[in-house]
Symmetry: C2
Subunit: 405 residues, 2 copies
């Protein structure tokens, strides 16, 4: 095993928050494999690489000799985690839970060392709880403390409804920690309240309380908001290699350290070395981003897929010099009696030509392309389908993806 | 069956509150026996006649042809009704619950017509609830609505703890109403929130919602505070006949209507007739109170016991002309070197003599008694024990019970 200092350095990489850090150090000093709990509710059918961040941290723990306790929350999913929400989660059916859970396990197997993983399903113990058991657990917590957490406090003060059953979520998640005898619980930063409830319950039941370790939420490809399907900035773990490679290439440079530490399979040492080179200007940011993109595609597909994706990326983007972030413009062009759209008018409308006559000259000069194919001389009236969802290019630098509204 | 108007007159006697009354009228119009739910948690081992008030109302319903559904809350007792409390109830053991429940049933059998009674135990259905069932019930209620009730609102705003499990009480009591398909639920006025939760849950589950009927809390023998062992103003149902008779005789006249309607076995018509006579000055209040006392002793013991108790009451109180409400006076008399108290000084201190010399004359004249026994001539110095807790009498009209402070 590595020294406590070496372990801490790796565990803390990526900007994790440890509550309390001194307790983690004490536990590491014991020299025995620690039990690292990670619970995931199978609520989202569409997984993105942000969902894998805790799995990567678990894998780091495993590589340091510790044990991952992965809890598939098929019991907690019936409640719905209220963390960070301002509405009650709609309930899932047992069938949805089963399908989603299978997807999670499939992904976890790709990231974790299954020899050092205990895979558990919390309905195994939650499903047998009867009213008196539940009452005893609930009696350990007060309403005031539970409503202090931000999500509840916000809803309560804004008079948004909190359903009574949502209060049970931290209680049963805490009970999970008791049942698996967790040394450390890891998860997103929005989970701190739930983790602390687990710490409290373990202490009240006379157990050595768990240490709470929260990870930053991985930002999406926009580099701003957290990765989420609803923000359209996610990199799905089932995205095709080409799409995945391109999406990683589209992140801003400043997001590279987070992606390296939280979403890649590079070791902490490798990531640190590359970041140092980049900051010393001995490694071009684009080169670093390519390594990152190749690493992530390799992780979710294969090295061959990554090489092919990089080649395709070069073919399309470098050779055609099409930028990776094309603005999307929604237009509502007039449709004439023949059902056609007047293309010079569209170019004028989106600001790619000062006037319709300039636009006609550009077309006739061969300088206007749709999805990389030049428009013919005099071809001014085109079907709406040809421009809906396609990339229109004028000259070498102006691009837009059109949408008919 | 009586007409709806006749039934309503009886049901409303004693100052009940019906929510909503129009719904009760509709249900009575159906002409079928209604199911009247009364749930009681076996938490108090010492029962007083105030606990029997809802049972007497149930009996009125039964006499009108309806069905009493008596629920012994051996399941709800595990939670503890938070109604009207500013602290969490301490949990009872299953053994305590069993003993208390037996006491309740014993009492209920004395009051109810068991041919028209369904005796149920709510742990029969609550005890089988699993986490998903409980979640579905809890999901029907919001935190804000639940915390609106006075007891919770007071505790929350005064930062007194509300334990999380207490929020479950109205939920499972509401579920009881669903399980027994209640038409009407009756209980103390502090139960209105719980009853309304039942009404709401039945409606949400597509059932005809119950009508909520609350009874005033019976005042204690002081005529002021609600009857409660902790106020020392209770008439226990296991009190001996003599004690019970005397306690009823000690209530203020103004409390007689409530005791007649809520705690006696007189019919509403009989009570109304006696109250009318009393108010027309054709019935002496003392005579009415004797009838009431005899009625209550008969209900909990027997008619023979009531007659004997009344005779004993006469012997002690009428023959000695000791009034039933003796003022209690706490004094701190000087104790001399022999450990004795100077009695004339005490009589002066409590205002029964204008001076110590007058007091000595009263004693020497045989006009001072302790617990009915005259003090001997010249017996001025007595032991403190002789006057502590005893009734001191001067002449025929002045009485006081002394306490050494």
């Amino acid at each position: 095993m590595s020294t406590v200092e070496e372990q801490l350095h790796i565990i803390k990489s990526g900007g994790v928050n440890i509550v309390p850090e001194v307790a983690l150090i004490e536990k590491l000093k014991l020299g025995r494999p620690l039990r690292i709990k990670f619970g995931v509710d199978p609520t989202a059918p569409d997984l993105h690489i942000g969902h894998a961040v805790p799995l990567r941290k678990l894998r780091q723990f495993q590589d340091l000799g510790h044990i991952a306790v992965l809890i598939i929350g098929n019991g907690t999913a019936l409640i719905g985690d209220p963390s960070g929400r301002n509405t009650t989660r709609p309930p899932l059916t047992p069938e949805e839970i089963a399908v989603n859970a299978a997807t999670y396990v499939e992904q976890a197997v790709k990231v974790l060392d299954m020899q050092k993983t205990e895979l558990t399903w919390n309905n195994d113990w939650l499903g047998t709880l009867l009213l008196p058991d539940i009452l005893k657990l609930m009696a350990q917590f007060t309403v005031a403390r539970t409503l202090e957490r931000d999500d509840f406090a916000n809803r309560y003060s804004n008079q948004l409804p909190i359903s009574l059953h949502e209060l049970l979520y931290p209680v049963v998640q805490a009970y999970d920690s008791v049942c698996v005898n967790a040394d450390v619980e890891i998860g997103g930063s929005d989970q701190l309240f739930n983790f602390l409830a687990g710490r409290e319950l373990m202490e009240k039941l006379g157990m050595e309380p768990q240490v709470c370790l929260t990870l930053p939420l991985l930002e999406g490809t926009d580099g701003v908001a957290k990765m989420s399907k609803s923000y359209g900035n996610q990199i799905g773990i089932t995205d095709e290699p080409n799409e995945m490679f391109g999406k990683v290439m589209s992140i801003p440079d400043e997001s590279m350290p987070n992606y390296l530490y939280l979403a890649s399979t590079f070791t902490v040492e490798e990531s640190e070395a590359m970041i140092a080179e980049w900051q010393a200007d001995t490694l071009h940011p684009n080169t670093l981003k390519r390594r990152l993109a190749a690493n992530i595609v390799t992780a979710y597909h294969s090295e061959a897929d990554a090489q092919a994706a990089e080649a395709e990326f070069d073919r399309i983007y470098r050779q055609h010099e099409i930028p990776t972030d094309i603005e999307e413009i929604t237009i509502q062009p007039a449709i004439d009696d023949d059902g056609l759209v007047y293309l010079p008018g569209v170019l004028q409308e989106i600001g790619f030509a000062a006037s319709a006559s300039e636009a006609r000259r550009l077309i006739d000069g061969g300088g206007v392309q749709i999805d990389g194919a030049a428009i013919d001389q005099g071809e001014f009236r085109i079907s709406p389908e040809r421009i809906n969802g396609t990339v229109i290019q004028v000259g070498k630098r102006r691009f837009a993806r059109l949408r008919l509204g």
